[in-house]
């Protein structure tokens, strides 16, 4: 009989035997000997007080019980992260183990797939924003804003101040403040016109001076208002040679003018809407675009995938490039704080943009735009509600103010009906009264919209009854 026909099952060997083999090879009796250099007073002598171990089945049941404590709701929340439809292909691609379980592509020869996917993402975002270069991703929108402001200050060496729109979302603002603190950068808010909701150009003019390195505004802003004067704003910022930084919604760029066309120097935003789930706030993918310039590119944070050739010149290839900007190379000379980023999600956003195509993106954006304006209009017909509170044009977010009583009470009543209604601005913008910001997307069916409207009608009646 040939030995090949009756091969021993190699995996039969006991794990304990293998361990013994390795210990013998090392000349030790016990793994503890490898920890002898740890001072005895430091050794942890009791078992860790954490639950487990659990079998897969037990784990599934355990987690299922915990997650069933969540309530299923219809949400009209936005605020930078929105519920958009995730196509099956996107889900499938980003869970491919070759992509998901790969390391940062520092050895490009075995990571051309990941590198090309990120190059495509960079390219596609640039097509949306209208600027030449996009990096390989930031953690999220808020840190992208912070890094954009810091970058502007570095580029305009003697200016230590930045201007920020007061129509920035409070969640993002809180993060930005922290990043400006370290390098001691001053910031001031530019007012919005309380009736239109748009940036107050007169206020901007007054505040722009030679101390200012950049002005950051959002388009649409956190109230959903589209900045009609975006080009004028960028022009004004350029009169003092400062940088115009705009925060945008990527899907809206299917129908709204790309910031590259109206003078933006840096464009940032949240790429989560491009096929990435909300996941209770993360992980998401911040995008960051600029125009290419030898000097400016050197100040850009984040990784960059570039196209090159093989040394023999025969093949096209992709590689992480301009890496000397990265913080782990610059060390104490570093200018930004990002190493691990959101790679696989950027890849996924690339899949989404490729799948939707220009028409798909446009139609999705139109769904968002029209349903939001529809809802707003309908809510405004109710006696005790006003929507929107601004006269400017709106994309897919809009404000709703309750004229009698508190918005918190309205929100509570809606929760009882399984609806999460809007983000209250009572704390961050008390000047606008009992108001909340609502958001609609292509995930809201007509039934969802009607459910909200019917519920608000009932609440409206109740408010009248008092």
């Amino acid at each position: 009989m040939e030995s090949g026909l009756f091969m021993k099952n190699k995996s039969e060997g006991s794990a304990k035997d293998i361990q013994k083999e390795m210990e013998t090879f090392l000349g030790i009796k016990d793994i503890d000997e490898l920890y002898q250099d740890i001072p005895s007073s430091v050794l942890f002598k009791r078992p860790l007080e954490i639950p487990g171990p659990m079998s897969e089945r037990d784990l599934s049941t355990y987690i299922d019980k915990i997650l069933s404590m969540n309530q299923k709701v219809i949400s009209f929340l936005g605020g930078g992260t929105q519920n958009h439809y995730i196509p099956a292909l996107v889900k499938e691609v980003i869970t491919k183990p070759e992509l998901q379980n790969s390391y940062t592509p520092y050895q490009p020869e075995v990571a051309q797939g990941m590198l090309q996917g990120i190059f495509e993402y960079q390219s596609l975002i640039s097509e949306l924003t209208g600027l030449d270069v996009t990096n390989a991703s930031m953690y999220d929108w808020s840190t992208a804003i912070a890094e954009a402001l810091l970058m502007s200050v570095r580029l305009l060496k003697n200016r230590k101040k930045v201007l920020i729109t007061s129509s920035i979302h409070p969640d993002r603002l809180s993060v930005v403040k922290n990043y400006l603190d370290g390098p001691n950068i001053d910031y001031e808010f530019v007012k919005i016109d309380n009736s239109t909701g748009e940036i107050d150009l007169a206020d901007l003019k007054i505040k722009l001076n030679e101390e200012v390195a950049a002005f950051y505004f959002e388009n649409p802003n956190c109230f959903g208002v589209i900045e009609r004067n975006a080009e004028k704003i960028c022009d004004l910022v350029h009169t003092i040679e400062a940088k115009a930084i705009v925060g945008v919604d990527p899907i809206s760029l299917g129908i709204l003018k790309p910031p590259g066309k109206y003078g933006a120097d840096i464009v940032v935003g949240e790429g989560q809407g491009l096929g990435i789930p909300i996941s209770f706030g993360g992980p998401h993918v911040g995008f960051f675009s600029i125009n290419y310039d030898l000097k400016t590119i050197r100040q850009m944070p984040g990784r960059l995938v570039g196209m090159t050739k093989t040394k023999d010149g025969k093949q096209r290839a992709f590689v992480l490039t301009l890496s000397t900007r990265e913080q782990h190379i610059r060390r104490e000379k570093a200018t930004s704080n990002i190493c691990t980023n959101q790679s696989i999600l950027a890849f996924g956003a690339g899949v989404y943009m490729s799948l939707l195509g220009p028409e798909g993106l446009k139609e999705t954006a139109e769904y968002c735009l029209t349903t939001a304006n529809y809802l707003s209009q309908k809510i405004n017909e109710l006696k005790h509600f006003e929507s929107p509170i601004f006269s400017g044009s709106h994309y897919n977010e809009f404000t709703v103010r309750v004229k009698k009583g508190k918005i918190a009470v309205v929100q509570k009543m809606l929760i009882e009906r399984g609806i999460v209604a809007g983000f209250s601005t009572v704390n961050c913008h008390p000047e606008f009264g009992e108001t909340a910001i609502f958001c609609t997307t292509e995930m809201h069916t007509i039934d969802d919209l009607n459910k909200l409207l019917t519920s608000l009608e009932e609440i409206d009646k109740k408010l009248g009854g008092k």
Partner: protein, 508 residues
């Protein structure tokens, strides 16, 4: 020799469109279109997009094939061994993926009222507790998106503490050893501190005397990894902690090497005041080709008030979980919303799967594998082990290819590239900076003895080739989809997007 699939894969922009139906977004409900008659009036004319964006128009089947090809040209933990020092490329269990994709996680919005997301908050709360126990800390913030951001958070918390003591202006320096990962001094610089670098001793450990000379009332913190980047445990850690604490400074732990010590010793017991975890290293969450990860930061009791808000809490009386924003001394937020939640769920599931004994065994096995591989490779007599060669390493070790380079002209880079031909990912190379021609190797616990033996055989082959047939190594890799590429060209004439590519072609 192993071979990755080789495709001359076009960019999505280069794939021809097809008549086949493309993706269809949902149609706007009739009721809406009846009410909003002219949607073009909704956008001010100044802001209307005049030209559609230049995105590809491809059918799903075309893209499915495209991405399958790209995946086939990407090495992953599921493909093979990554002996990458400092990265802890352990296996990413599928159950983590499965659970974190539950719609009750993916579809929840961070601004939903607490009562609608009790399950999520409970997961955050329990993860906080588990990580705090693992590290010997009082509380752990789950907000930071990655290790580097965790470091920044930790340093900002430390800064807030010093400010509260009235010492913001005096404490201006952060100390790091010369073996530190680049993100450490970078973080200190971002937070507005001056970095003081102290040289390691000949045995690779922190020089206590150098540290004593470097500390002063200006010291805000010392940033350390333990075991350090050479894989050596800082035996004098308690003395080091005392030196820093005596001048009123704090100790920050870079958790990149935490995989060596889970359940065996805890940073909190060594005297550290703040630590960050790299969950995409130690706690098995996938690397995703560069991210996302998460970098939770644990702190001792006196630093808890400064942690980013909110913190998840449990109200015993009403039996409800809630997000606590009432933290008046908090540094605020360091990223949007509450953190990379679905990544944290993976880490949570991983810890539950292993339990207390499992986590300890993982570290022990990682250390055993590392020392085993180290000895096997040193037996080949090609590479050397600088710094304390007789002291056992922990989960990783750093070899030097300096002698081999001088003997054969083959550099560590060449060795790394030849390993790609043999089906392995290269180890970390040229780090830490204090080792010449460094090869930093970390097998992790999820590699079998068989893999380690075969890896040793591959390294033996490369050694033989270096001495007898160096061209094979110098010209490596040859079996990968592309051969060595021109990084100089990539940096000198950057082509970073399709637009720039089109522009470059025009200019030619």
């Amino acid at each position: 020799m192993t071979q990755q699939a080789k495709y001359k894969e076009p960019l999505v922009f280069e794939i021809e469109t097809t008549k086949y139906e493309k993706y269809r977004p949902p149609k706007i409900p009739e009721e809406v279109t009846k009410t909003i008659i002219d949607s073009t009036k909704l956008i001010p004319k100044e802001m209307v997009r005049e030209e559609l964006p230049n995105l590809p128009r491809l059918a799903e089947f075309q893209l499915a094939r495209h991405y399958t090809h790209l995946a086939q040209m990407t090495f992953s933990v599921d493909t093979g061994f990554y002996p990458l020092g400092s990265c802890t490329m352990k296996y990413n269990p599928k159950i983590n993926d499965f659970i974190s994709s539950d719609p009750r996680i993916t579809e929840t919005h961070p601004f939903q009222p607490d009562e609608t997301v009790q399950g999520n908050i409970r997961i955050l709360y329990e993860t906080d507790k588990m990580l705090s126990e693992l590290a010997g800390m009082a509380r752990t913030t789950l907000q930071p998106s990655a290790g580097a951001q965790g470091e920044l958070t930790g340093i900002l918390v430390i800064r807030a503490y010093h400010k509260d003591q009235g010492e913001e202006d005096t404490r201006t320096e952060v100390i790091v050893p010369d073996s530190a990962h680049g993100t450490n001094p970078a973080t200190a610089a971002m937070a507005g501190y001056r970095t003081i670098v102290i040289k390691s001793k000949d045995n690779g450990l922190v020089d206590l005397e150098a540290l004593k000379s470097a500390v002063s009332e200006k010291t805000a913190a010392l940033m350390l990894t333990n075991p350090n980047t050479l894989g050596l445990f800082e035996e004098e850690i308690l003395e080091i902690a005392k030196v820093v604490h005596d001048v009123g400074g704090l100790l920050y732990y870079d958790g990149a090497n935490f995989n060596a010590i889970m359940g065996i010793c805890r940073p909190g017991d060594m005297g550290f005041d703040a630590i960050h975890f790299n969950v995409h290293k130690t706690l098995s969450t996938p690397h995703g080709g560069g991210g996302p990860g998460a970098g939770p930061v644990g702190v001792v009791e006196k630093l808890v008030p400064y942690l980013p808000k909110p913190l998840p809490e449990y109200d015993e009386k009403n039996k409800k979980y809630y997000m606590n924003f009432n933290l008046p001394k908090s540094i605020g937020k360091i990223r949007g919303y509450w953190g990379n939640f679905s990544v944290l769920v993976r880490a949570y599931v991983y810890m539950l799967t292993l339990g207390p004994d499992g986590l300890k065994r993982a570290s022990q096995q990682a250390v055993l594998n590392s020392n085993y591989l180290k000895k096997k490779l040193l037996e080949l007599k090609g590479w050397t082990l600088p710094y304390s060669p007789k002291v056992p390493r922990k989960h990783e070790f750093v070899l030097s290819g300096d002698d081999l380079h001088k003997e054969t002209g083959i550099s560590t880079l060449d060795v790394a590239k030849r390993l790609l031909d043999l089906g392995y990912h290269a180890p970390t190379i040229y780090f830490p900076l204090i080792v010449q021609d460094a090869l930093m190797i970390e097998p992790t616990e999820t590699e079998s003895k068989q893999t380690l033996d075969e890896f040793t055989k591959a390294m033996a082959q490369i050694l033989k080739e270096s001495r007898e047939n160096p061209d094979l190594v110098l010209n490596a890799p040859q079996t990968t989809p592309i051969t060595r590429l021109d990084e100089v060209l990539a940096a000198k004439e950057p082509i970073l997007t399709w637009r720039m590519y089109q522009q470059a072609k025009l200019e030619k």
